[in-house]
Symmetry: C2
Amino acid sequence: MAKSKGPKRPRAATPKGFRDYFGAEVTARNAMLARIAEVYQRYGFDPLETSAVETVEALGKFLPDVDRPNEGVFAWEEDSDWLALRYDLTAPLARVAAQYRSDLPSPYRRYAMGPVWRNEKPGPGRFRQFYQCDADTVGAASVAADAEICAMLADALEAVGIERGDYVIRVNNRKVLNGVMEVAGIAQDDLRTRGIVLRAIDKIDRLGPEGVRALLGKGRKDESGDFTEGADLDHGAIAMIIAFALPNASQSGFVMENESGEALELSLREILEHSLEGKHGLAETDEIISLVRAQGYGEDRIRMDTSVVRGLGYYTGPVYEAELTFEITDEKGRPRQFGSVAGGGRYDDLVKRFTGQSVPATGVSIGVDRLLAALAAKGRGETDASGPVVVTVMDRDRMADYFALVNTLRKAGIRAEPYLGNPKNFGNQLKYADKRGAPVAIIQGEDERKRKAVQVKDLILGAKIAQEATVEEWKSQPAQFEVPVAEMVAAVRRILDRG
Amino acid sequence: MAKSKGPKRPRAATPKGFRDYFGAEVTARNAMLARIAEVYQRYGFDPLETSAVETVEALGKFLPDVDRPNEGVFAWEEDSDWLALRYDLTAPLARVAAQYRSDLPSPYRRYAMGPVWRNEKPGPGRFRQFYQCDADTVGAASVAADAEICAMLADALEAVGIERGDYVIRVNNRKVLNGVMEVAGIAQDDLRTRGIVLRAIDKIDRLGPEGVRALLGKGRKDESGDFTEGADLDHGAIAMIIAFALPNASQSGFVMENESGEALELSLREILEHSLEGKHGLAETDEIISLVRAQGYGEDRIRMDTSVVRGLGYYTGPVYEAELTFEITDEKGRPRQFGSVAGGGRYDDLVKRFTGQSVPATGVSIGVDRLLAALAAKGRGETDASGPVVVTVMDRDRMADYFALVNTLRKAGIRAEPYLGNPKNFGNQLKYADKRGAPVAIIQGEDERKRKAVQVKDLILGAKIAQEATVEEWKSQPAQFEVPVAEMVAAVRRILDRG
């Protein structure tokens, strides 16, 4: 066929890395968010919705991948300002806490739900707009606030349908990591090296210990051939940090080599004896664990784990992460643990950026899309996506009559609609009803109208019969019957209740 | 005081024209949207959530103020593409309808709720991010689809609390306007003039007939001195269009001058006898009105009004607008009608932009923030913003005990929290409870702990006594009493139920 010579048509596609959500995808997410909001609300948190657009200045630069040229945000210039889409819900909260500091209660407990945007390379299942659902306490210096948020996170996960045993919340403290780095000989003001170590540890799930070892040493070449420069640490420092970064290291103690190459078994606590900051971090973790234990959250739900560091640069104390522990099958058919669905921690300096005064703060962010995917994998997503009753159109001059039937159903609280496409081909109307997942079609031809009746076509039963019945049974059409208009609602309701 | 010489701090402020929503503002909007969604859902519409970011190419240029340099959108360049924030929910729907045309049912009925962004000059009460709540039917050529949406809009307004009599949905048709322009001698392909006429009429509420008359003639200078070029029509054409554009013109017929200056009384229908397109538009309006009348929507709720044109360029047939008719007091203390809260119409060519094939479509958009403001003005917003029970902290080493009290309340479904600020100053804890709107504070000192009891402080009653009571009554403190811990929930519930 010759190509049309008309004007160039726009491409009907989202930009790369963006997607649309249809029907049940939207309602399932809303239902899940409503359940989480209920937990947050019961814990005394108030909703806050900040604008999607912030000044780049207010957002600050705290994304893990600061190396990328556009620094991970979608930004544009306006007059002399740079504006950007928020990349998380924490940076805007810090701005709000500073902007309204004389009006807000202190501590300020708020929750927020909404999309955030990251200008990252899109990939399979990796989108540049996604939902977060956060809860934070601003103005509480005590780690009791962190403990409360860990407990609330457990409650929220259970509220949406993640069963006990299928998740664990792992707690660590940036001060513990700092202590390990101090003992490993990385200077406190060597922010570059400390940043590389932090980001390397954060990637241990994805890169494995060998990948992290490379990043702590000379550097790492990824599959695409790109080279990431390493922290250039010595052998002993690398061994110590790797040991710390292995999941559940804190449970077991770890083996190191001393300078002459002998194996040396040391516990985390023994190592951190040499760092005041590290000891302080451990004490904070102990306090959090003790507070949640007193509330009945056992080791199975909330526990210490030194491998948790969180990638974001702004954390200053406790960090925590919720991991789903059940297995799913990945794209290549291999079983793997579902992994992290939420994380957070304490960021005592974010508000200070604006005001110069330190304001302690801590909070958690739930990755909404990942949690939804987890529920779907467990078959526990809400899927109340029942289609409407479709009132078919036999005679297009009688639209008012069909609207009247539809309204009778709607007024009875039944989801219903008239067929609004071209009614000429009746088969198309039934195909439409099928595509909508309609449980029932209502048919009223001239004969039925005269009798003040309608045909009620039970599409659920009809589909069943079509699959299972013999030709004789099929012909007898028990899935369609006539009722007086006055009995239509009752007849439809019987079918819906049975369904 | 000398200024600090520290590094420059970021400004804690939203960009101009953006705002934050706190607490009850968020819950009131969510409650309103949930009620509207329920109506949309019952009418057989399915939710759709498109990405906030689109290609500029896909969005197209349909904003009323195309004259502005940045064309009204927030846009930025990425590689060779321009991306932008959506400025409404209709353009993304057209993109979706084209992109998924082989998968979606036809007609496709969808609703959408979410923020949209306009790069306009911010002003008082005029924001650059605001919520819309749309419902559209794509693929239905019949104006029965328009009639259904007008009826649904009336139902949605009543569902959120706008009483019958407080709103009216006015229906017109672009073909009627085109007919008037045809009779007035403006060529069909003179898109520039037709665009000026359209936008001028759309502003009649704001500019008055004189302002519109200026825009139809040589042009108009606004208060700031800016000059907008006019359509340069002759006297007769201007008179005809103004008559058409006056609210309720269709009800009354209107007076024109003929060429020799004599008054000539003509009805809209008489004028449109001279335009096939105009007659067709009138017939469509008649059909819509007749269909809604048959469903019991009277003149008080839905009626024809030729002054409704809608500013957006893409409408091709019926247009409709919901106006709230009750009076509010404006910033200057003058009474005025609340005005428009929703509008929409038929846009048969939006999907065609992508596919080359005409796809009929029609839909409505509710201005969520304006509707919320209207409900607030009527005192009908949902304001369930009850604060949490605050468990105060007398001894910071006993946090686990206070958490236990909080958990007892939460498990009983009562919103509760421990005080997580610095507990040293007990007065601050009560001030906090007050600021949170807490109905009750729980107090447990060492004595109460030994007795396994708590003090229950009724803050609602306490505030009342503080205002009304004598010093003697105040001293007897009837608003605070001690109960055993086992009876705390019951005692708190009695206070909440009374409140």
